[in-house]
Amino acid sequence: MLEIKNLCASIGPGEPNILKGISLTVNPGEVHAIMGPNGSGKSTLAQVLAGHPAYTVTGGEVRFEGEDLLDMEPEERALAGVFLAFQYPVEIPGITNAYFLRAAYNELRKGRGEEELDPMDFLDILEEKLKIVKWGPEMMQRAVNHGFSGGEKKRNEILQMAVLEPKLAILDETDSGLDIDALRIVADGVNALKRPDRATILVTHYQRLLNHIVPDQVHVLFDGRLVRSGGKELALELEAKGYEWLSEVAEEVVA
């Protein structure tokens, strides 16, 4: 489904690489966890996959279902089925959540050659999805993420994911700063979406999310490189040992 080969990226031409040659293959039905210390490049990887214009790809390639993902505009990637849950969801005062979700949902429908839904028909769909994040309809009349608590913003990302039903969901630290109940909601949201033809990449700092969502593979990102891959026990090892020991591993990888 997703094939990343030797991906390098920086924040602009002439800038040092933040991603220094990442290779990763994600197959349909799989859940991959990417862990690593702060500043190792996890968000950069997630944003580059979503097409954030602030980053320049300096090498390598990415294929999504055989297509050149890096050649696609951000909105084309979304229509193709790639979804990024932002580490820092963006506030948009003046636009209601209901409108935002419907606009996005209708873009997908248009992309599939289907008719757009009016607010009433969309409401039926939305009501189902709201159950996943345990929200009432009142959150839909609030402006997108505006004045939301950290936890509410993360839940809103999960709601968007539930409405858009992506093939590949990339969750960038959606678990950070959540209490145990909110964490459950996020995990349930991801699990509810799980299907043999869909895949998930979980960027996380902690192993606790992985108690609720069992990953097929865990990767460790350190200084722009994937320095280790393994099963879910790797997450436990990281939890026990911390990230310091990785600098030696990283040197070996570079050498």
Partner: protein
């Protein structure tokens, strides 16, 4: 060039004009003749290019060649047909287009010319009385030409169920013609009113000149929401002056929307003339092409314990220009004044520009007065956020532009007025579905 205005004045019909009004008009003319048109050397008009306008020999507008019909006004309909409405075509009251059937007892909504004939004793205490030395030369010129306009009076304690529409229409063939509508709005003690004052141009290219003055007087504990919508032809000159006089515990809220005119200027002055008085001034300007949209506001905090809150926004595309000047005067007596002013401009092109200037003159020491101005382009991050959800870049720009406008439109208190306004803005920004 200004001599032509004296000739117009001399030719004004005097029938039906009360004795007391003649010196008022004369004073207006004298003031205008003494001051002349402002130029870019006048600090107050530095950024407002009036040269072409002042050199044009505008003639008083006559009736349009083909009468304006209800159908012509349909695209500019604001609110429900049942709302009371006074419609003026090229400055003259058009009773056949107006709707004043179901006004509650005691409420008056009629033309000023009629009110001067039927109820001069109600008009005289207010007309021209509050407009002070701060009146612009244009306002003085308007006073010289006082003839017709809207007169609305809500007697003490009355509340109107629906908003009143005032619609000033310039016909498509009004190129080179001028109108000077003069409006008087009296909201007495404890009365409540929502008023929508619209200026519309039916032609795309009529270079007409509208020079309008609206005087508002608010009694004790009265409440007025005053929505002003300027959508004249984009070749037109629109100069407007609104003066509000407020007494104890009155609440004035204004939403001033400017999107028409080649050059438009609106002065909104409000005087908080008694303690515990409140004024909320909101504004939204939308410019494109070569338009210039100018807003000047002045808030006089004359008495203690008053609050003013002001948010003006502008959205400027292409080569358009915005001007904002916000004055707040706080007298030594006006302790405990709470005044906040915000001006925000969104530039949609790198050839659009804005000149913005707050002007706070504070002579009391125990006050809370702040101001802030921002000018900028759309943020990249929300734009990317929308795109990452499948929304095309042009559409994302539209949505975020609308969002910028919606934040200030949300402050309109009367629901149906806010919904209508929302429709006007969405149409103007090319967003057809409801957000």
């Amino acid at each position: 060039m200004i001599d032509q205005y004296r000739a117009v004045f001399d030719a004004l019909p005097t029938d039906g004009v009360p004795e007391w009004l003649r010196p008022v008009r004369q004073t207006g003319l004298d003031r205008f003749m003494a001051a002349g048109f402002p130029t870019s050397r006048d600090e107050e008009w530095r950024f407002t290019p009036l040269g072409d306008m002042t050199r044009t020999p505008f003639a008083p507008a006559g009736p349009p060649r083909a009468p304006v019909s209800q159908a012509d006004l349909e695209p500019y309909r604001f609110g429900h047909p049942e709302w009371p409405a006074l419609v003026f075509v090229n400055g003259a009251f058009a009773p056949e287009l107006s709707q004043t059937a179901d006004l509650p007892e005691g409420v008056m909504a009629t033309s000023l010319a009629r009110a001067l004939m039927t109820d001069p004793e109600l008009v005289e205490p207010h007309l021209g009385k509050h407009l002070g030395a701060d009146a612009t030369p244009f306002a003085a010129l308007n006073t010289a030409f006082i003839r017709d306009g809207a007169y609305v009076r809500v007697p003490a304690g009355r509340t109107l169920a629906s908003p009143i529409n005032l619609v000033f229409v310039t016909s498509a063939d009004a190129d080179g013609a001028m109108t000077h509508p003069r409006n008087l709005i009296v909201v007495e003690d404890g009365a409540r009113l929502s008023l929508v004052e619209s200026y519309v141009g039916l032609g795309e290219s009529a270079a007409s000149f509208t020079n309008t003055v609206t005087e508002v007087t608010l009694g004790q504990q009265s409440w007025l929401e005053h929505t002003r919508i300027q959508r004249e032809s984009e070749a037109a000159y629109h100069i407007g002056f609104s003066h509000v006089h407020q007494v104890r515990e009155s609440h004035y809220r204004s939403f001033s929307m400017s999107m028409g005119g080649r050059v438009s200027r609106h002065n909104l002055h409000t005087r908080l003339d008694a303690p515990n008085t409140e004024a909320l001034l909101y504004g939204l300007s939308i410019g494109h092409g070569e338009q210039l949209v100018d807003n000047h506001t002045t808030i006089y905090h004359d008495k203690p314990n008053c609050r003013s809150w002001e948010v003006y926004k502008a959205i400027l595309d292409d080569h358009s220009r915005g001007v904002f000047n916000g004055k707040v005067f706080v007298t030594p007596e006006a302790q405990q004044t709470d005044a906040k002013q915000t001006n925000r401009t969104l530039l949609l092109s790198d050839t659009a520009r804005v000149d913005t200037k707050p002007q706070l003159e504070i002579f009391a020491d125990d006050v809370k007065c702040t101001h802030g101005a921002t000018v900028g382009y759309l943020d990249d991050l929300p734009h990317f956020y929308l795109r990452s959800r499948g929304i095309e870049p042009e559409r994302a720009t539209q949505i975020l532009t609308y969002a910028f406008a919606a934040e200030v439109m949300d402050e309109v208190a009367v629901d149906p007025v806010r919904h209508e306004l929302d429709q006007v803005v969405r149409t103007r920004l090319g967003i057809m579905d409801r957000i």
